[in-house]
């Protein structure tokens, strides 16, 4: 069964505004606009606006000349899609699974389910009644294939039910747009004079296959779409599956205003959550605590764990650090704990040697505590990256992220133990005009170079950087008191990329 919500964006707007069709704010011309690169463009239009001669897809400025009284609201495509997802889940009342057909349609698999509603016609009537009760203008059709149902819902008679035999004869009168094709393909077909499905079927497969060779997307190839419509080739659809998030909540008899009580409630919730997670064999990676205040305000605190866990004491401890700035106001009356991100975590046997368990914390718990107090990016580990530029040869990743599969590490010659976040310029005194300096001044101290190794020439990554980036000549040096540094000269004299080369200190060697 295909469902087409012809006016989804406007129906959503009406539901938000709380007005019926053609009444209240809907009685005057109104358009939903989308911002484009060339200015606002009309994305959806109500009946009063259409009666004034405005068309969907025109620029707002053009529409205003036709209908100066046109009211506008911003369109919300992301919200429409989220609404459609909810609708797809709700539509599973008519069949075991449903798929999205963006931007405004649904496909529901009703195979073998129609007799539960008293036949296909009754099912369709039920669907139309339920959709109308939700305030949606929808057309629905039932057919043996998804493509045929879509074609009937969009271009066929309202409430059509199609049997399995002779699909082409029954659908032959529909326009080619019923094949779900791209705009340019439709334009081409119109120029070729192929207007109906029967025209397309009459000219033969070979001719179509020769003319439309693109097999990248089905929407670009009328033959594939025709075969899908007639059920000659399968058409995989992506079903929408509801994922249930573990959630526990406590309604409180008296609003609480004090921290010890809240801690108590949180401890109870954590116990409940641990039980819920244990039942599913999962551990939480992200937790969300929401506290509803008496005045209707909602306080939300989020946590993210380094590894899946369901230890209530650990959860409480992590939340305790985040509750200090909670303003209870007149009191909190409902506390809810939600785990939006969970990962499988098998039940593990507790170690018999209890001392080993109690001694110290595990690594994941330690990292969680650090992350909660110090913030997201504070705890990281360096991972190698395939680059020969020193500062790009490592990247920082979350601490428990697995090592990426590199074929081999770059075998660098000698690298410093530490790298400054940004190379610091040094003032140099040359012994010879080009070559290594004799002295340099860094952070107010003068260093005399006693021994040096180099240069190690590192060219810029030309495939990534601009052509004017200068190369670097690195030297590993030791000064007269034994301090070892990694310095480089940025560019060459006379390389045509700026003035005289400058010197920088980038690394501190062990």
């Amino acid at each position: 069964m295909a469902i087409w919500c012809a006016d989804l964006a406007l129906d959503r707007w009406r539901l938000v505004e709380g007005c019926a069709r053609g009444e209240g704010a809907d009685a005057t011309p109104l358009a939903l606009i989308a911002e484009t690169a060339h200015g606002p463009r009309i994305a959806a239009l109500n009946a009063a606006g259409a009666a004034q001669g405005v068309r969907t897809g025109t620029m707002l400025a053009d529409a205003r000349t036709l209908c100066p009284a046109l009211a506008v609201c911003p369109a919300d495509p992301a919200g429409d899609l989220a609404f459609l997802e909810h609708l797809a889940l709700w539509a599973q009342r008519w069949g075991p699974w449903s798929a999205l057909d963006p931007p405004d349609g649904l496909i529901v698999d009703t195979t073998g389910a129609a007799h539960l509603f008293g036949g296909e016609a009754a099912l369709l009537a039920d669907a139309r009644a339920q959709l109308a009760r939700r305030g949606l203008i929808a057309r629905a059709a039932i057919a043996p294939t998804a493509g045929a149902a879509w074609a009937l819902a969009h271009y066929g008679p309202d409430g059509a039910v199609l049997e399995a035999d002779n699909l082409l004869e029954r659908l032959g009168a529909l326009p080619v747009a019923a094949l779900r094709l791209d705009e340019e393909v439709l334009l081409l077909l119109r120029r070729l004079g192929l207007k109906r499905l029967e025209d397309l079927a009459d000219i033969g497969r070979e001719a179509l296959a020769r003319r439309f060779r693109s097999r990248r997307a089905p929407a670009a190839n009328p033959l594939v779409r025709l075969d899908q419509l007639l059920g000659r080739v399968p058409e995989p659809l992506l079903p929408v599956i509801a994922v249930e998030q573990p959630m526990v909540q406590r309604r409180l008899m008296e609003p609480i205003r004090h921290r010890p009580l809240l801690d108590r409630v949180l401890a109870d919730l954590a116990e409940d959550m641990a039980r819920a997670l244990e039942g599913r064999g999962e551990g939480a990676r992200r937790l969300e605590m929401a506290a509803w205040k008496v005045d209707g305000d909602v306080l939300v605190r989020r946590l993210e764990m380094a590894a899946a866990t369901r230890d209530p004491a650990h959860m409480c401890r992590l939340f305790a650090a985040r509750l200090d700035d909670l303003d209870a106001g007149f009191g909190i009356e409902l506390v809810r704990l939600l785990a939006p991100w969970t990962e499988p975590l098998a039940l593990a046997q507790a170690e018999l040697d209890a001392a080993a368990e109690q001694h110290g914390t595990s690594l994941a718990a330690c990292l969680d505590r650090l992350t909660v107090r110090l913030g997201e990016g504070a705890v990281r580990r360096p991972l190698p990256r395939a680059s020969h530029l020193p500062e790009r040869a490592q990247r920082w990743a979350p601490p428990l992220e697995p090592m990426p599969g590199l074929q081999e590490d770059f075998a660098f010659h000698e690298r410093p133990l530490k790298l400054l976040d940004r190379p610091e310029p040094i003032a140099v005194i040359y012994e010879a005009p080009d070559g290594l300096p004799r002295l340099f001044r860094w952070r107010g101290g003068v260093h005399e170079i006693a021994r040096a190794e180099g240069p190690e020439r590192i060219a810029p990554e030309w495939w990534r950087e601009r052509s004017t980036v200068r190369l670097r000549d690195y030297y590993r040096i030791e000064d007269s008191t034994g301090r070892r540094y990694w310095i480089y000269r940025h560019g060459l004299a006379g390389d045509g990329r700026g003035g005289a080369p400058e010197w920088f200190l980038q690394g501190l060697c062990a």
């Binding site: 110290g360 580990r381 590490d409 410093p416 133990l417 030791e478 301090r483 070892r484 060697c509 062990a510």
Partner: protein, 213 residues
């Protein structure tokens, strides 16, 4: 361990000592693959830079977890949490200057936690006065001229430090020139100080009592 901020001496020597200590333990525990923690506060980070993976010793490279904190208080918190964790091999901290938070109490707290959980802590103080502290060993580290490599005498050689153990609970204080010879620390006593050998330093215990330290 007290070191100057404009060089990597402190961290490098701490790392070398930590490796050496692990190496001694490695006979009992084959193939210790636990990660280790490196905590730096913001001032230390600005002063002496970030750890650089290709420059770290090969066996420790992939096990580093780095923590950068905004304040010394947070750094102390991170150090203590790291010490309490049973899955860490050792902890290195770098704190610049003499912050108010790092007083004798904080230092005592850290050394007690380290002793209780058996995790080694090497705290590097950059550009700091040697104030009160309860560390079991207190070193003063500086860079020393390295031995010239055999094949290129003009190049800097293996990392060499001049380290002074100026306060220790169970060891004789002394002054050494320590050298990283690839997989272990090698020590040559300074000409001026009559000090025990480095191997003795790790294993044995001196005559000084705890109270005297």
């Amino acid at each position: 361990m007290f070191a100057s901020g404009g060089e990597a001496t402190g961290a490098a020597l701490a790392l070398a000592l930590a490796r050496d200590a692990l190496h001694v333990d490695a006979h009992a525990e084959e193939g210790d693959q636990r990660p280790w923690l490196w905590v730096q506060d913001k001032a230390a980070l600005r002063l002496s830079g970030r750890p650089y993976r290709p420059g770290l010793p090969e066996p420790l490279r992939h096990r580093l977890i780095h923590v950068s904190t905004a304040t010394p208080e947070d750094a102390l918190f991170a150090l203590e949490e790291g010490l309490r964790c049973r899955d860490l091999a050792f902890v290195i901290g770098e704190i610049a200057g003499n912050p108010r938070a790092l007083d004798f109490t904080a230092s005592r707290r850290l050394s007690l936690a380290a002793e209780k959980h058996g995790t080694a802590l090497w705290l590097v103080r950059l550009d700091a006065r040697a104030d009160l502290g309860s560390a079991r060993m207190r070193w003063r580290a500086a860079a020393a001229a390295s031995a010239p490599p055999r094949w290129n005498p003009q190049a800097p050689g293996r990392a060499t430090w001049s380290a002074e153990l100026f306060r220790a609970h169970t060891f004789q204080p002394g002054h050494w020139t320590l050298r990283d010879d690839g997989n272990a620390l090698a020590a040559t006593p300074s000409a001026s100080a009559a000090a025990p050998d480095h191997g003795d330093l790790v294993r044995g215990s001196g005559a000084r009592s705890l109270a005297a330290g």
